[in-house]
């Protein structure tokens, strides 16, 4: 097979969790060019939010996507709080970080388990998912839901942790440290996993900066753009942590960033639990949202999430716009994929941790 031909990957394909269509031009087994077509799961959410009031929009934004479902309402609420000039109580700041980091750990574990699935290591996938299940149990026990936590509200958080819940959280987080360490060693050192991920989907530092790539995808190329550090929100500036950076620029580096961030997330939750101040978790009543504009950024599991909210003083927003990390990252696929083999397409695609339902909302 010497000549060039086209392979359709998607819109419905086993390797893709969500519908997106790659038109891959292939020479032999080597990818030459990729065309990305999207728009299969557009739900018109940006129009929908204009017909709901600020409180209802917390619920809608949470349904944008399941894996980063905490970050959407979180960022939206921060933008609204900026318009209203609300200062949330310190205890709520810490509780927001706890919800965010538990979600981040679960999301990253999900992504690396998908990587294991795509390189054909199904045992590693099931083991990673089993470890993640502990976090799902934690979410269900504390927030009452396995995916949509509903943790944040305008002016604070909707939940509080009592002593027993803190004890339970610490116990569960401790119990997954050892399995994750063992799993991380397999992702890092197993020879075939290395052969399948090392040097695959290379995205150089220059390209990362040029394309504005965000999140663990960029941090795998040594670019520090962690919003938690460069534009701190909630309690992140009060905690002791460092940005995880890898300079492999390939799929392996991105997976290692995610695995190390799982440990970091556990560490951050533990720090928060230790430093948790007393006091209320929410400001009294519901603030009136005045006329104005607000912008908020957070670090979602996939990268920077950006919300713009414009209010005309009524109960509904006049305009809302959000930019999700995958929108920036999938342009980078056109740089990552050429030169790799067909078998790597899904591995590379998974390495940006794509979220199509976020991007097409």
């Amino acid at each position: 097979m010497g000549e060039t031909y086209k392979v359709p990957v998607g819109p419905i394909h086993i390797a893709l969790e969500e519908p997106v269509y790659f038109k891959v031009t292939v020479h032999g087994e080597t990818v030459e060019h990729v065309d990305i077509l999207s728009g299969f799961v557009h739900r018109g959410m940006e129009a929908l939010v204009l017909r709901r009031n600020f409180l209802q929009n917390m619920i809608i934004t949470e349904r944008t996507c399941s894996l980063c479902s905490n970050n959407h309402p979180f960022t939206y609420i921060m933008a609204v709080e900026k318009i209203a000039g609300v200062k949330i109580p310190p205890r709520a700041e810490y509780l927001r970080v706890i919800a965010d980091e538990v979600k981040r750990a679960a999301s990253h574990l999900f992504n690396v388990s998908m990587l294991a699935h795509l390189v054909g290591f199904h045992s590693l996938m099931t083991q990673t998912m089993e470890t993640r299940e502990v976090l799902q149990d934690v979410k269900e026990s504390i927030w009452g839901n396995r995916m949509d936590l509903g943790a944040n509200t305008i002016g604070g958080v909707k939940y509080d942790l009592d002593k027993e819940q803190i004890r339970y959280l610490i116990k569960q987080l401790n119990s997954i440290k050892k399995p994750i360490r063992e799993l991380a060693a397999i992702y890092r050192d197993n020879r075939i996993v290395r052969a399948r991920t090392e040097g695959v989907g290379v995205l150089s530092k220059e390209d990362t900066l040029r394309l504005g790539v965000v999140g663990p995808t960029a941090r795998g190329s040594g670019v520090n753009n962690d919003i938690r550090l460069i534009y701190p929100y909630a309690a992140y500036d009060k905690l002791d942590w460092d940005v995880v950076l890898e300079d492999g620029c390939d799929v392996r580096a991105r997976a290692l960033v995610r695995l190390r961030e799982v440990f970091q997330a556990i560490n951050l939750v533990e720090q928060c639990l230790k430093a948790l101040p007393d006091g209320p978790v929410k400001t009294k009543g519901f603030p009136r949202i005045p006329k104005g504009e607000g912008v908020a950024r957070t670090e979602a599991p996939r990268g920077e999430l950006f919300f713009y909210v414009k209010s005309d003083g009524s109960s509904k927003p006049e305009r809302m716009k959000w930019r999700v990390p995958t929108y920036l990252n999938w342009e980078a696929l056109k740089v990552m994929m050429p030169g790799n083999k067909i078998a790597d397409i899904s591995v590379i695609f998974n390495s940006i941790d794509p979220c199509i339902s976020c991007t097409e909302r």
Binding site: M1, Y5, K6, V7, P8, V9, H13, I14, A15, E29, A116, H117, L118, V119, G120, F121, H122, S123, L124, T126, Q127, E130, N190, I192, V193, A195, R196, K341, I342, A343, D344, I345, S346, V347
Partner: protein
């Protein structure tokens, strides 16, 4: 010389070939799936799952896509592999139970028969007109080129070893008899590299990780099976089950044909037990390995099993 007698028809159609082989092969497949599931912390399917799959496919409609390039080839492709495997089971002796055909050079026939399932994948896949099938077929051809070499070296090593320093023994029955009197090859240190090479060959031809490449779900979905449905697909599944059984039987003929007693029943149970143990080992490897990419697998197959089998061949020839 094989003559058409009642006993050979019985052996081809009912036992140990034919019906028995199909059912036993399907059960082995299910056992493999259950073992993999247990290694992964899952429950796995019930033991009769693969038999039910065949029964289900039997009643399903056969869909032939419009852009099939060669309709006839698409329809008859599964038959080649099936017939090849049925014949392979027929000529393979099961030590203490069934003597095979007793032909003097059936070992050579085996080389051709074992290649037939892959040929039928290649014919069916390339006739189906699907891009995924085309990619998967090209991978299968690449891998086949690599693993067949080591298989043939192993085969000649076994033939030479069974000759006992007096030429080569190309009769499967002769190989079994030699080992029953002189001890199994698996206990011979000289044959261990060849045994390992054969295991790698088995994994590659069964497309078990680390060689789950040609029909890898992650990129080419089901590959050459993509457009198949109904009875032709069932035939492919049966062929796969038979291939598993054939390879396990070949493994036993080559390396561990030991018998457990004089009774046929005891020996049959011993054969079944050994087969189940081999399936469990394959399942363990399956569960503990990721898959190579095709270029990596080709490199691996061109180096490791060939070197291993050459090592055994050298030791048999010169020591």
């Amino acid at each position: 010389m094989i003559t058409l007698s009642a006993s050979s028809v019985f052996a081809y159609l009912l036992f140990p070939g034919g019906l028995f082989a199909v059912l036993f092969g399907l059960l082995l497949l299910s056992m493999g799936r259950i073992a993999v599931a247990r290694f992964q912390g899952r429950v796995g399917p019930p033991i009769y799952q693969n038999i039910f799959d065949i029964i289900k496919l039997r009643v399903k409609e056969v869909l032939i896509p419009e852009d099939v390039t060669n309709k006839l080839m698409f329809c008859i492709a599964p038959v080649f592999g099936f017939v090849g495997m049925m014949t392979a089971i027929f000529i393979l002796p099961v030590s203490g139970v069934y003597g095979g055909t007793g032909a003097s050079s059936d070992l050579i026939v085996l080389i051709y028969l074992l290649a037939l399932p892959a040929v039928s994948h290649i014919l069916g896949g390339s006739a189906s007109g699907s891009t995924y099938a085309a990619i998967s077929v090209s991978r299968e051809v690449i891998l086949m080129f690599a693993y067949e070499i080591s298989f043939i070296i192993v085969l000649f090593t076994v033939a030479l070893a069974a000759g006992g320093g007096d030429g080569a023994q190309f009769s499967l029955k002769g190989i079994v008899d030699y080992q029953i009197t002189h001890g199994s090859f698996i206990s011979d240190i000289k044959m261990i590299p060849a045994f390992l090479a054969f295991v790698i060959f088995m994994l590659a031809t069964l497309e078990v990780p680390p060689f789950h490449i040609a029909e890898n779900d992650g990129d080419v979905m089901k590959g050459y099976l993509m457009e198949y449905s109904g009875m032709p697909l069932a035939l492919f599944e049966i062929t796969h089950a038979l291939k598993l059984l054939v390879l396990i039987t070949v493994l036993q003929v080559f390396f561990m044909p030991g018998i457990a007693g004089a009774s046929i029943i005891v020996n049959l149970l011993w054969f079944i037990g050994k087969s189940a143990a081999v399936v469990a080992c394959i399942a363990f490897i399956h569960a503990s390995m990721p898959s190579f990419r095709v270029d990596q697998a080709f490199k691996f197959l061109m180096i490791v099993p060939i070197l291993l089998s050459l090592m055994s061949l050298g030791m048999i020839l010169f020591f």
